[in-house]
């Protein structure tokens, strides 16, 4: 076991040393892999961020109940209490007209214009959150129609329309990311495979000699598999770096935009898990690409 490990470490280091001897060629391969991986990785980060910014599903399914302008705060409170008792409702938040105005003043930038108004034009409102198990469209529709019949209620608004549209778009984008990732992964397999093929061609004599003195297919393949692993690791690191740079460059402006919209949203990077997945995925791709190429090529090289 110790010897086996020793051999592997030796092969691993030896393979790294060989790559090091041709820094330009190695760097090119690694850069190509890195760039190919960075594109889907950036898209993925983008989608993750958009999803985070849109707050996910639960908020989006809230039902807004606007009371009539004439309804008093007490009436609104009693309606809120009644709604709160419903089985299909998990939470009700009462937003009084004053609170709504205050929020609007802060968020919209129309503060001074609002001061010109004599009365508060906003009604009291309830934000009703459907209970978890009643969040499907049919139940939410029943809930809205019943809310509409409550005394003092003016309008019930359910913003699922844009949410579902938005989610549909996001879904498409996510699939595009998957497809892109798949295509780029295939591309990386081809790149690594071809690079390994050339490596093997360059070392044909050595492989023949090794086979002549009793080297098995697995033995002659091993250094090339490590080459693939190194290519993958290097490419993964480059991709990670590119994503990090993109986040760094876009981070400030995005935060400024978010700030302008009264949001504290900030761009998130890959995170620890995402980074690990990226690098490990890259290593796996490198290994697999070289495995396919080496297995195929090496069988054909026999001593003559």
């Amino acid at each position: 076991m110790k010897q086996w490990l020793e051999r592997h470490v030796q092969t691993m280091v030896g393979s790294l040393g060989r790559l090091w001897q041709q820094p330009f060629a190695t760097m090119l391969t690694i850069l190509v892999i890195g760039i190919a991986l960075a594109l889907p990785a950036c898209l993925h980060v983008l989608v993750q961020n958009v999803r985070a910014a849109s707050g996910g599903w639960s908020n989006a399914l809230d039902v807004s109940v606007y009371m009539k302008q004439s309804a008093t705060l007490e009436e609104a409170k009693s309606v809120a209490d009644r709604v709160r008792k419903r089985r299909d409702v998990s939470d009700v938040t009462l937003v009084s007209a004053d609170e709504a105005l205050e929020e609007f003043r802060k968020g919209s930038g129309f503060g001074e214009a609002l001061d010109a108004l004599k009365d508060n034009p906003l009604p009291h409102a309830l934000i009703v959150r459907p209970a978890e198990e009643f969040r499907d469209p049919a139940h939410v529709a029943t809930l809205t129609s019943e809310l509409k019949t409550l005394p003092g209620v003016d309008v019930v608004q359910l913003d699922t329309e844009w949410v579902s549209r938005f989610n549909a778009i996001l879904d498409v984008v996510r699939r595009v990311v998957f497809l892109a990732a798949g295509l780029f992964a295939l591309g990386i397999l081809v790149i690594v495979g071809n690079t390994i093929r050339l490596d093997i061609e360059n070392r044909r004599d050595e492989i023949e000699v090794t086979k002549l003195v009793g080297g098995s297919d697995a033995f002659v393949r091993r250094p090339f598999l490590y080459n693939g692993v190194w290519y993958g690791l290097g490419g993964g690191a480059i991709a990670w770096l590119i994503v990090a740079i993109v986040i760094m460059v876009l981070g400030d402006p995005v935060q400024r935009i978010a700030g302008l919209y009264g949001s504290s949203f900030a761009l998130h990077g890959l995170g620890v898990e995402g980074s690990l997945a990226l690098v490990l995925g890259a290593i796996l791709l490198g290994w697999f690409g070289s495995f396919i190429a080496a297995t195929r090529e090496l069988r054909g090289i026999e001593p003559k």
């Binding site: 020793e6 023949e208 000699v209 086979k211 002549l212 003195v213 009793g214 098995s216 033995f219 026999e302």
Partner: protein, 237 residues
């Protein structure tokens, strides 16, 4: 140790290298294989090392039938054979140490042991101290001896050599042959193909002369020859 029974070898281009070839070599023997170039000596050695396979007939080496040996078994089979090539087949970009140690690395021998055995092998061919040289810095004779060191480092039970003295001047050739003789004296079966008739005359060693893919003479093999089975072997057209 080696048993050719009615072996035929025909190459894809139609050339017939061995025709109904029968020969036995006992364990511990030393045999010189002579004949003109193209007589089939190299093919014979290639068949023994399973670089080529017999077209027909059986060839048993070390108790294993090479005609039916699965591909996967070949590497471990070759590890018990030391092969010396006329063109050395050394890795020119690696130091002598790596070249000689390669069979041991393949066999998974621990590094310390490799160092010891590589030095021992180099000592036996008179190249101790040249571990860090690259083959390119050595003379042809020295390169050949590196090849021999690599062939014997794994302590094989069979050593085969194809024209090991082909490009060497007479003094060096004798030196190389003496090395082979010494190995034979410690029990290794040695089979050397050479066309250098003058050289081998001074060794009291069994000779087998090959001509046009058949045994054409030489010393009778110590074991009685197998009765040649007269099956209607049609000459392949």
């Amino acid at each position: 140790m080696i048993r050719f029974d009615n072996v035929w070898k025909r190459y894809p281009n139609g050339r017939e290298a061995l025709c109904d070839f029968t020969l036995g070599i006992e364990r511990g023997e030393m045999v010189f294989l002579t004949g003109h170039s193209g007589a089939g000596k190299s093919t014979l050695l290639k068949l023994i090392a399973v670089i080529e396979r017999p077209t027909r007939g059986t060839l048993v080496v070390n108790g294993q039938n090479t005609a039916t040996m699965p591909r996967k078994k070949i590497p471990s089979f070759r590890r018990d054979i030391g092969i010396v090539f006329q063109d050395h087949k050394l890795l020119m970009d690696r130091p002598v140490y790596d070249n000689v140690g390669l069979p041991l690395v393949i066999a998974g021998v621990p590094e310390k042991e490799i160092t010891k055995r590589v030095r021992a092998a180099l000592d036996q061919v008179g190249l101790l101290g040249r571990e860090q040289n690259r083959p390119i810095e050595l003379s042809t004779g020295e390169q050949q001896r590196v090849g021999i060191a690599r062939a014997i480092v794994g302590k094989p039970s069979l050593l085969i050599a194809d024209e090991p003295t082909g490009n060497l001047d007479p003094d060096l050739a004798v030196e190389i042959m003496n090395i082979f003789k010494r190995f034979n004296e410690v029990g290794v079966t040695v089979l050397v193909a050479t066309h250098d008739v003058h050289l081998i005359e001074r060794y009291g060693v069994r000779r087998v002369i090959i001509e046009a893919g058949r045994v054409a003479g030489g010393d009778a093999e110590p074991p009685p020859p197998l009765p040649s089975i007269v099956v209607d072997r049609v000459e392949p057209s």
